[in-house]
Symmetry: C2
Subunit: 378 residues, 2 copies
């Protein structure tokens, strides 16, 4: 095993320290994230060469503090989500002076993790939308019974929404059991497909223990469901990965609940790592909604992390949402381009009895704006 620079996982950290402490802090972090020993207690040459990360750069950061780039040898930074996340930010998540601002995964690690199984293209195939922006909304609120949610599902499907997902709060509740909900909602999109000839992709929310999620996925699959949404930071990033590498071909939409991670840049966790671990699409708040941390620059980096070239990984579809208003359709398409899925929830629900009409207008607006922008570009 050779620590070729091409095979190292590179991580950039921001250290909230002054110049006098920076070198020592960088040195401490090298040991903290791998061997967890004082330097004088490490003598094994394999450990020094194949385990301890190298300091590739250390210098003052724009905006204060110091910027550190560590290159983790392939011996320690492996293509396995739990272990990789632990090496990158496990112990130092408990140290408030360290932030993780960028991660670069080399090709062997990307290949090992595998990334999106379907990716944007596969999700488009399942949704029957070969090109142009997709539209998405959520079934909510938690508390409604399966029939009520299925009725909403039918309204959205008739209005031409491409993907209808469960809200992330929908679990296997006694008042809305997973099996009944999924049966009713999947039946609703199929009924509408027979009426209109256009099939909306329904994505139920799977959550709970690994065994519960496996049961939910089996059940949903048996009912003809081809996509699910899940919250990797609640159920565990390794479970996302296990599902992506599993036997069942299923589009995996990742939701950012609990992903406001300890001082990890959103584009690293929701972008690089969610994609590398197998998310086919990633939902995240776009700038200007209810989530201030997601400014335009962050959203740009996040979008790029999902679709840019990364070690041969398939692109994952960016799904900006988080309180987007239907009036912002054109702005969003200008920002992300046509390879995007626009998620709008509350802005539709606010229409009350006019939900179907407002949804249809949203779908039309997206189509027209995309055509307009395509003409502009050509």
């Amino acid at each position: 095993m050779t620590d070729s620079p091409l095979e190292s996982v590179r991580a950039r950290y921001r250290l909230a320290v002054g110049a006098e402490a920076a070198a020592a802090r960088a040195e401490a972090l090298r040991y903290e994230q791998t061997v967890e020993l004082p330097p004088e207690a490490v003598s094994d040459p394999f450990v020094e060469k194949e385990i301890l990360p190298r300091v590739e750069a250390l210098g003052p950061a724009a905006g204060g503090g110091f910027e550190l780039v560590l290159a983790y040898p392939p011996g320690v930074a492996r293509a396995e989500p739990a272990s990789l996340l632990g090496v990158l930010f496990g112990n130092c998540s408990l140290q408030d002076d360290v932030s993780l601002t960028a991660v670069e995964l080399p090709e062997p690690v990307c290949r090992g993790l595998g990334g999106p199984r379907l990716g944007s293209a596969g999700l488009r195939r399942l949704a029957g939308v070969p090109e142009g922006p997709l539209t998405c909304t959520a079934l909510k609120p938690v508390g409604l019974a399966p029939d009520a949610l299925a009725e909403l599902c039918a309204v959205f499907a008739r209005a031409g929404i491409h993907v209808v997902k469960d809200d992330n709060g929908l679990a296997d509740h006694p008042f809305c059991p997973f099996a009944e909900r999924v049966r009713a909602c999947q039946a609703a999109v199929e009924r509408v497909a027979r009426e209109t000839g256009r099939r909306t992709l329904y994505a139920p929310n799977v959550t709970g223990s690994p065994a519960a999620v496996a049961r939910q996925i089996d059940l949903a699959g048996a009912l003809g469901v081809r996509a699910v949404i899940l919250e990797p930071m609640l159920v565990g990033l390794p479970l996302l990965h296990e599902l992506a590498r599993g036997e069942r071909e299923l589009a995996l939409l990742a939701h950012p609940s609990f992903a406001g991670a300890p001082r990890i840049a959103p584009e690293v966790l929701l972008g690089t790592l969610f994609r590398a671990c197998g998310a086919d699409a990633v939902i995240f708040p776009h700038a200007g909604g209810r989530f201030a941390r997601f400014d335009l620059a962050t959203c740009r980096r996040l979008g790029d992390a999902l679709v840019g070239p990364t070690g041969g990984l398939r692109p994952a579809l960016p799904v900006p949402g988080g309180g987007m208003e239907v009036e912002r359709v054109e702005e969003l398409l200008r920002f992300y381009g046509p390879d995007v899925m626009l998620l709008v929830g509350g802005s539709l629900y606010r229409a009350g009895a006019a939900l179907g009409e407002r949804t249809r207008r949203f779908v039309d607006d997206v189509r027209r704006a995309a055509q307009r922008l395509a003409r502009e570009a050509s």
Copy 2:
């Protein structure tokens, strides 16, 4: 389903807002954590009563900002780790103005989650230490081969350490496969037990996907292993819970890697939630080590959250560590009392060739200090 106050999950949040914005921010959080809809879009009476949390208190917080107590009805805050964590802090983990400072789980939720299966008492039984403080150390560094780790394991076992755990960085590496490591280390503690008549409890680190963890646990169990260490925030809190409720009786030691959660008080995540989800012992950094966030007041609350009366849950054993020096034994025992396991790693390894001797002194120091404190108290 009645929302009796006795059945609500109570969560206390700190809102980083001024007086003029506090009421609106509290109201927005009620909706964000449950229905994710604008208030005007929520009309269902069941949702209003059984899903939306009630504001139980809202007032200025000591130290600035506002303190909010929400009571989540049993309809939405359930005895399931992923869903419960999502309700308590899922979406708002992405909102930097909200911190979760306390959680109170009612008896039905505690009963539903089940808590530690063995708890302190069961772990003591497995370690053969009916009373008084336990001692613990870690096999490290990652990078050593199984034989080298097993040799360390034997040194620690001969020195009388009660529990030897794998370092949290030890995964299923090619240079140290899980199966070989566990076989060698378990054989080492059994060999020493035949020599000395005293059996050290060896706890391998299990990590990876849920399926990989299940395989590792089966393999370890077949080799006679009775305890494991795992990192719930890397592998997923629901996996900890699934293991605690599974068929195999196994002591579960929880490690805090990646648990420097987004603005959640350590005592809430590592204390209340790790215990409720089934950790028999919880490792955390004690004040004065390498983790500044853990001051004495935090450690006191964390210790209390692990052992105090909580809805009938068995106590979990506090395992302070994180850079403790052997010289601090008495201080630690004064702080936590005798129902504790002291974890010391680097401070032993620094002894180099004198590792066994220094470990024996550590074990003796703990025993003598405990006797001294017991005499003082009587």
